[in-house]
Every structure is written in C-alpha cells, then in structure tokens.
C-alpha cells in the first residue's frame, strides 16, 4: 500500500516534471538552443499563481483550476518576451551565446521574484481542493490526481497540436530543418516564437501545479532546470516522448529514494547517476533524437 502511495506521489511529481522537460525539449528542437531559464520560468509560473490567487472572487469554486488558463496565457506572453530578448538577436551565433543569454534571463527572473515576493516559500491554491480521497484503502491527495490529470491533458493537447494540425506540421518542420522549412514557405520565426510561448506556458503550468504541495521560492528554478535537463538527457537529447519518460523516471527515483533515505541523498544520487549516464551513454537511455547541426 505504501508502495502504491509512493507511486501516485511519484507520478504526480513526474507529471509536473514532464511538463517542464517537454517545454525544454520543444524549444531545444525548434532552435537547437538550450533554454537555461526553463527552471526559473517554472518558478515564475508558481509565483504568478500565488500572486493572482487573492484577486479571484472568493465565491468561485476551484480557484486553482480557474487560475490555470490565466497562468498559461500570461506565461506564453513571457515566453514571447524571452524569445525576443534572449533568442532572436542571437540566432546566428554559436549555441553557447543562447545558453548564456538564458542564464542571464534566469538570473533576472530569480532576483526579480525575490525583490517582489521575498525569499520565503509560498504556496499556490490547490487545483480542486486540499483534501484527500480514499480509494479502497489507498489515500491519495486530490491535488496529486489533479496534477496528473492536468499534465496528461496538456501533454495530450500538445501531441494533438503537433500531430494533427497544420500549425503542428509547420512547428515540426521548423524543428526538423529550419532552412528547409523556410524554403518551403513556413514562417520559421513565427513558429519559433510559438514554440517559446508553448514551452514557457508549460513551464508556468508546472509551476502552478508544483507550487501547492511543494511550495515555491525564488531560487527553486536551479534544481528544476537540472531535472528537466537530466530528463531530456536520459530520454535521449531531442526526443519528446523520451523527455516525458525521463521526467517520470527521475520523479519516481526521487520519491523512492527520499522515502528510504532522504531528499538530499536522493538528489545527490540523481546527479551522480546523471554523471555516470553522461559518461557511459551520452546518447541517453533511449538513443539521441536530435540531429547534429553543422
């Protein structure tokens, strides 16, 4: 029963990590650039939820769920801003330039948040309610189930968008080969902007989902970007399903090891495992999907 309990917790955490990693890998594929601010964008989404919560009319039910679309839209706007400031001016420069510009964007977000909100941990409202459900002896937090459901919906939406729509085809064409896509008349810059908006909105959603049970502090982004990065690495650099699978794996690992030992040990082991994987199998557990770009 405890194992099942941990499994649900791990899945909930993994579902949120999956959104983070998914946003990271979408931008990576569209731009061949590492968005180092992704973790800080998660934090920004969480704090946005915290800041917006008091402004909701009190008589409305389900505060968290109502916040979700607002956070998604505002974060998508932030994503456009990020792309305009830290990616578009640098697209003809070596990848390390974007790495540094997004580190800079992350620093600005992180310290901006600490000026506005202070360093204390904050909690966003739960999506549905703060209670627990008893499923035949298995006691599960409503929030855990809500996280899993929302993340699954968002990921399914992304799959549908990319797989079934004309816009999705253009987004995929841009990710596969921007030069070729441009030659075929795809507005590549617009597609990149949309990808940034989508990736940032996903980060924001993850932030809102995580900020209830795990709280949010301005410095929370550092760990999150590492985990997204690790998820994408073990899932195979550039692979979208790999990123989701990798995120679930590391969340289960984290929850499992924390329950037996402690969180710092789990984190240390996670990083140590990452180093071993990088050295032994740099193409990830499932093989590398991203083409090398000359």
């Amino acid at each position: 029963m405890i194992t099942l309990q941990l499994l649900v917790n791990g899945l909930a955490l993994g579902a949120a990590y999956a959104l983070v990693a998914l946003g990271f890998v979408l931008v990576l594929n569209a731009t061949a650039a590492v968005n180092f601010a992704q973790g800080d964008l998660v934090m920004a989404g969480g704090l946005l939820g915290v800041a917006l919560a008091p402004h909701l009319p009190g008589y409305l039910p389900l505060p968290g769920l109502l916040l979700l679309p607002v956070v998604l839209v505002l974060m998508a706007g932030l994503g456009l801003l990020l792309a305009a400031a830290a990616y578009l001016p640098l697209r003809r420069r070596p990848p390390v330039a974007v790495f540094i510009s997004t580190i800079a964007a992350g620093i600005i977000l992180q310290n901006g948040a600490s000026v506005l909100f202070g360093p204390e941990p904050r909690a966003a409202p739960p999506l549905l309610g703060g209670g627990t459900l008893d499923l035949g002896g298995l006691v599960v937090a409503e929030q855990s189930l809500a996280i899993i459901a929302v993340a699954a919906l968002l990921i399914a939406g992304q799959q549908w968008l990319f797989g079934r729509t004309q816009l999705g085809r253009r987004l995929r064409a841009t990710a596969q080969d921007p030069e070729m896509a441009r030659a075929c008349g795809v507005p590549v810059t617009a597609m990149i902007l949309i990808t940034f908006a989508l990736g940032t909105a996903f980060a924001g959603a993850a932030g809102l989902l995580l900020a209830n049970r795990y709280f949010v502090t301005p410095t929370a982004g550092g760990d999150l970007i590492l985990k997204a990065y690790i998820a994408v690495t073990i899932g195979g650099w550039g692979s979208v399903p790999g990123a989701v699978a990798g995120a679930l794996l590391i969340a289960l690992f984290e929850v499992g090891v924390s329950s037996v030992l402690s969180y710092p040990v789990a984190l240390g082991l996670l990083y140590a495992t990452l180093l071993v994987i990088l050295v032994a199998r740099p193409q990830g557990l499932f093989g590398e999907a991203a083409r090398r770009r000359a």
């Binding site: 420069r93 540094i100 580190i103 990088l278």
Partner: protein
C-alpha cells in the same frame, strides 16, 4: 557639430597610443584609487574584486580560450575555499601550507572528472559540470562534521607571508592584487603563446585542430585543470578575506558572477577579467536598494553584453583604439622533411559501417611518393568516409592503414597527423576570428618553437601557393576559392608526406582550377603523395596518375585515368551515358 565629431573620429586611428597605454592607464587608476581615495569599505570591495578577478582569469582559460562552458568553476572556487577554511580553522595550519592545498585539491578533482567529462559536447559538458557543482554543494551542506554544515566554519586565520601577518585594509588588498598580477601575467603569457593559440583552435574547430597535430583532449584537460587552480586560489583568498567559510562559496551566484565578469569584460582576455571584476563588484554599490537581489543587475549586464557587445568591454575598447597591425614576418622555409621514395601509405581492406550501411567496404589502395591518385565515385559512395578513416576522424571497423610498418588505423587524428598525413575538408572551415596568417600558422604550432617561427613558416606555405598577399586579411569574408587556397596552405604547412584533399576544386572557376592543378603538381614534385577526391573529371583525369572509383563503399575501378571513361561499370554507376 556632428561633422566635427566625425572628423575627430577619423583622426582617432592616427593617434596611435603605445601598446601598453590601455593597461598602463588602468593600473595607474586602480593604484591611485586604492592609495588615495578608497575608504576601508572601498578597500574591502576592491579586495573582493581582486578575488573575483583571479577566479575570472581562470575562467577565461577554460571558457574564453578553450570554449568549454564549465559550470564547475564555482565548485572549484568553493573547494579551494573549504580546503583553506577547514585546514586553517580546524587544524590550525598556516597560509604557507593551506594555500598550496587549496590549489592542489581543485586541480586533482579537475583531472579526475575532466578525463571523462571533457569528451562531452558543449551542452552536455555544461550539464555535467553543473551536476558536479551540485554534488559538491550537497556534500558540503550535509557533512557538518567536516564542513560545519549549513553554518560553515568561523575562525579562519588571515594571510601570513614570510612571518608577516597581513592586516586588513590596504595590505590585504595589495596582497590579493599581487596574486591577481601574478596569475594575470602567467595567463596572459600562456594565452599569447603557442598553447593559447592551440587552445583557441580547439575551441573554434576541434576537428581541424586534431588533423593539424594538436592533442585536443590533452589541451582541453590542461585548460580545465589550470582553470581549477585559479578558482582554488581565488576561493582561498576569499575565505582569508571573510574569515569564515560557508556553503555560500559553493552556490550558483558565484558561478554566475564569474561568468558575467568574463563575458562583460571580454571573453578570453585577461584584461577583460580584471576590468569586468572591478566594474561588476562595484556595480551593486550603486544599486543598494536591491540588497541581496543585486544579481538582477548582473543578469541585465550579462544579457545586454551578449546581445549588444559579444566581445565585451575590452572588445569595445579595441574597436575604439585599434591595435596597430602586426608586421608580417619574413617568410622562412621550415627544415626539410625527408620523404622516402616508393609507396608511402598502404590502405588494406579498410571497412566502416554506420548502422546497417557499409560506407566503406574493403577498400585497399597505395599512395606512392610524388604521385597523384584520384578518388572518384557517386555521392554517398564513401569517398569522404575513406578520407576520414585515414585521417582518424572516424574509427575503422576493420583493415589497416600502414605508413611504413606502422599501422595507424584507429589512432587519434593528432597522432596520424604527426605521422605525416595532412588533409583538407570538403566544407572549408577556417577560424573566422583569425587572420589568414594565424590560421595557417596553426598547422605549425605543434612543431615550431614559437609563434614567430610558426608564422614565418606559414608565410612560406602561403607563398608556395601565391597567396602571401592574403596573410594579413581576416579569414572571415574571404571568397570560396581563396578559402580553399588558405586551407590548402595550412595543410601544406604541415609538410606532409601524404596529403588528402576532399574536393579541392569545388566551387572554383576554370581559371582557378588550372592554377590549382599547377600547385598540386608542384606539391607532388617535392615527393608528397596526394589523394584527391573530385567530381570534375576534366580537372582530375589529366592530373592523376592513378584513379580509384568507389561505389557503395566498394572499389569499382582501379587503374590509369585513361581507362575510367571506357570502363562500363564506372560509366553505369557514376559517369552515365555520353560521358
């Protein structure tokens, strides 16, 4: 008014200052400030700026010159800090003993983790080094017995130099800046010398660096290790200044500060590290209201610099006060390399598969001294893969590459290059930031004693191809034909016994092709064996004494060039009817 300004501007380059003017003025201003104006608090900020300058100088070596974005630099800083902190406060060791340990421990760790991690591509390298930094931080926070845990360790003694306990204020600032001067001078000399040049080539084009005889892995490891020593020294000085050590020294803000200093000051420049450190450490003083969130200013500075002035402040200063162009050296022929007669390179049964595709499938060939061999075949027939296998950029699955009695198959590119094999690339790649002379001189770094000598020999190679007039031009912006010629000169500067050319005539006009053919004949006449991959039969067939045609990785034809056009298999697979 505007016109007047422009006139003044036009005058500016003629007001050439002595070479040391910039650095001299900087040092004088810093000294005057420290001695005359600085308050005790100001001196403290200056001291901390010195600590960061030292750390940033080390970062310039690994990131600026070597191009490896090491996010473990903050960790090395912290480890140096903890080594001094623990030994000084718990074990009672003095500066003379703790300081060397603070350099040694980061060095050893860098050597240990560097070997596997440095093979990784740029973003994986950044991730791996960030992982290392996180592990070190976790260890420091969670081992209270050793490190004092989250609270850290107080009571770290000050610096004692030859029995003189350095007091705070001006003396401490002077000692720290003394270390900066020492470390800066060393790094500056290294950066300007052969080692620094080699390292920048490894950064700009690791593949080409290997084929020019440079040990890419060794150079990267040395840069990583040396940067760790600088970081460790800076960490040690930091705790001597603060007198406590806590996990703060391992946190990301230190890493971010060093990165910002290096980028804002000017990537790869020692002067940039110092200028950046002095500026950025004083910047928060003007933004006091931000308190602990002063890093937001760093974020803005970093973003603005990377977008608007990628070469940083020193880059801007260079543009304002351009350096006088260096005088070209006198061309000088390098000592002759004796090339034996007869067969120089024998390839036997070379095989390489990618997944299920056999790109090269049992190819054998012999390159004779002074002979030109043509390698032809349809696209995807394995010509470039064969050249990559011989030059070591790909590892063969089977077969031998014999130079004399030595089997070079599967050896590292730099070993193969040193054995006397040089090559050019189908897509010419020259370091965009370098001058033609510097790009060609890179081929001599491994062999010559000094940059001056390497450049003299490089000019000799350029002269042989009638390209000496290009020497002072930047590589960026050269037209395609000249880029090919510069790359050929670079390969020629290796004085190779065997020269592999991958489509040297692609994109050339007929006139340029005729000129190239003349150059290739002249090179062969000195005894060098040439292998030329080419599609243009009109260019290749009159030039080559022997032709090998590949199809799907297998030899289709091997024989005299006259037989190529009449061979039914070659015509069917490659030339087509009516060829």
């Amino acid at each position: 008014m505007r016109k007047g300004v422009r006139k003044l501007w036009a005058l500016a380059p003629t007001l050439t200052l002595p070479r040391w003017a910039g650095e001299g003025i900087g040092v004088a201003v810093l000294l005057a400030y420290a001695l005359l104006y600085a308050s005790p608090y100001g001196l403290r900020v200056l001291t901390v700026a010195g600590v960061y300058a030292l750390a940033a100088i080390g970062f310039q070596i690994v990131f600026g010159l070597g191009g490896a974005l090491s996010l473990a630099h903050g960790a090395f800083f912290g480890i140096g800090a903890y080594a001094t902190g623990i030994l000084g406060s718990q074990w009672g060791w003095g500066f003379a003993a703790t300081f060397p340990v603070s350099l040694l421990v980061p060095l050893l760790l860098a050597l240990l983790v560097g070997l596997p991690v440095l093979r990784l591509e740029s973003h994986y390298f950044a991730l791996a080094t960030l992982g290392i930094a996180q592990v070190v931080h976790l260890l420091a926070v969670n081992s209270p017995g050793l490190t004092g845990g989250a609270n850290g360790l107080p009571g770290v003694p000050g610096i004692v130099l030859f029995g003189w306990a350095v007091p705070r204020g001006l003396p401490l600032a002077a000692v720290v800046w003394g270390f900066v001067a020492l470390g800066g001078l060393l790094a500056w000399r290294l950066a300007r010398g052969r080692w620094g040049r080699a390292l920048t080539l490894v950064r700009d084009d690791p593949l080409a660096a290997g084929t020019l005889g440079l040990d890419v892995g060794g150079l990267r490891l040395a840069a990583f290790a040396l940067s760790a020593v600088y970081a460790g020294a800076a960490g040690a000085l930091a705790v001597h200044t603060q007198r406590v050590v806590s996990p703060e020294v391992l946190e990301f803000p230190i890493m971010v500060s060093v990165l910002t200093i290096a980028v804002v000051g000017g990537r790869g420049r020692v002067a940039g590290a110092i200028l950046g450190a002095v500026l950025l450490l004083h910047l928060p003083e003007w933004f006091r209201f931000l308190e602990r969130s002063y890093l937001i200013v760093y974020g803005v500075a970093l973003l603005a610099t990377i977008v608007l002035a990628p070469h940083g402040l020193t880059g801007l200063l260079d543009r304002l006060f351009p350096a006088r162009p260096a005088l070209l050296p006198k061309p000088e022929a390098p000592p002759e390399m004796a090339i034996p007669n007869g067969p120089l390179l024998r390839v036997e049964g070379l095989t390489k598969g990618f997944g299920g595709v056999r790109a090269v499938d049992g190819v054998s060939l012999t390159l004779e001294a002074g002979a030109i061999t043509g390698l032809i075949g349809p696209n995807g027939s394995g010509k470039t893969t064969l050249v990559n296998l011989i030059s070591g950029l790909e590892t063969p699955d089977g077969g031998r590459v014999l130079m004399g009695d030595v089997d070079l198959a599967g050896k590292r590119p730099d070993r193969i290059a040193r054995a006397g094999i040089a090559r050019t690339f189908q897509a010419v790649s020259l370091p965009e930031g370098a001058s033609v002379l510097a790009a060609v001189a890179a081929a001599r770094l491994e062999r010559d004693g000094s940059i001056a000598q390497a450049e003299a020999h490089a000019l000799w190679a350029l002269e042989r191809l009638d390209a000496a007039d290009l020497a002072a031009k930047p590589c960026a912006g050269l037209p395609a034909a000249l880029r090919r010629r510069v790359e050929l000169a670079r390969a020629l500067a290796r004085q190779p016994a065997v020269l592999l050319l991958d489509e040297p005539a692609a994109g050339l006009t007929d006139g340029e092709k005729a000129e190239l053919a003349g150059h290739l004949r002249a090179i062969a006449a000195t005894g060098t064996a040439l292998l030329v991959v080419e599609h243009d039969m009109g260019f290749l067939l009159p030039l080559a004494g022997h032709v090998l045609c590949l199809d799907q990785g297998r030899p289709l034809y091997a024989g005299p060039p006259e037989g190529v056009r009449s061979d039914p298999a070659v015509v069917a697979a490659y030339l087509g009817e009516g060829a």
